[in-house]
């Protein structure tokens, strides 16, 4: 299944500057794994060391926050759009 992935500026350097790329997978986790294979290092700050979703990274599937869907196990369909959006936060 091919999905569109919208990248935030901070991750574009891993993808040769592209704002949108495509990746394969049937779940969000598989999509991110495919992304990492194509662009090594791109998910380093998206996933935690134990393979969870980083607390300060928001991921949307067609504008729905995946934390309210199935997090990384959320199924994706052909043509879906995954948006990766870092939190705006600080102290």
């Amino acid at each position: 299944m091919a999905v569109n992935v919208k990248l935030p500026t901070i991750l574009r350097k891993h993808a040769g500057g592209a704002a949108r790329v495509t990746a394969q997978g049937s779940t969000l986790r598989e999509v991110l794994e495919d992304l990492e294979r194509s662009y090594p290092g791109i998910t380093k700050n998206v996933l935690t060391e134990d393979g969870g979703l980083h607390r300060f990274i928001n991921v949307y599937l067609n504008d729905e926050d995946v934390r309210y869907l199935g997090s990384l196990e959320t199924p994706v369909a052909e043509g879906d759009t995954v948006s990766i959006l870092p939190a705006v936060a600080g102290g």
Binding site: P8, T9, I10, F56, N58, Y60, D63, D65, S83, L85, P86, A87, V88, A89, G90, G91
Partner: protein, 132 residues
């Protein structure tokens, strides 16, 4: 150099004072480096020592900026008891290297102080800022 028009600057000050003693946060939209609109955002942390945008509200405003052809020009927040300089937490959570980080100190509420920075790979650079 960043020039923030008076009216948008006043909106920032008002938002900051309204949220005091909690930190206030917001987004500055621009076109070709010129500010066009300030979005006062909700601080999900509702805290005097931290801020975090509501991800849903953030996505809505980002989408709106896309539709209008605006860029994320600045990320605004207040420090209610310390100077207008990025904190350690600000550096750790600076995920937007293209944006100005606008930090407003309200430690003296009669005299708000706003300063602008770039934060890239944890490195802070102060940028020239003009109001008016």
């Amino acid at each position: 150099m960043l020039r923030i028009p008076d009216d948008l600057y006043r909106e920032m000050v008002e938002h900051g004072l309204r949220e005091f003693p909690n930190e206030a946060c917001g987004l500055l939209a621009g076109r070709d480096g010129v500010p066009v609109r300030f979005f006062a955002m909700r601080n999900l942390d509702a805290s005097p020592v931290s801020y975090r945008l509501d991800p849903k509200e953030q996505l809505r405003v980002f989408d709106l900026m896309d539709e209008e052809g605006w860029d994320l020009l600045g990320i605004f927040h207040t420090h209610t008891h310390s100077e207008a300089y990025p904190s350690e937490t600000d550096l750790r959570l600076a995920f937007y290297p293209d944006a100005y980080y606008l930090v407003m100190s309200l430690s003296d509420r009669e005299r708000p102080e706003l300063r602008a920075f770039r934060i890239v790979d944890g490195e802070v650079t102060e940028e020239e800022l003009e109001i008016g």
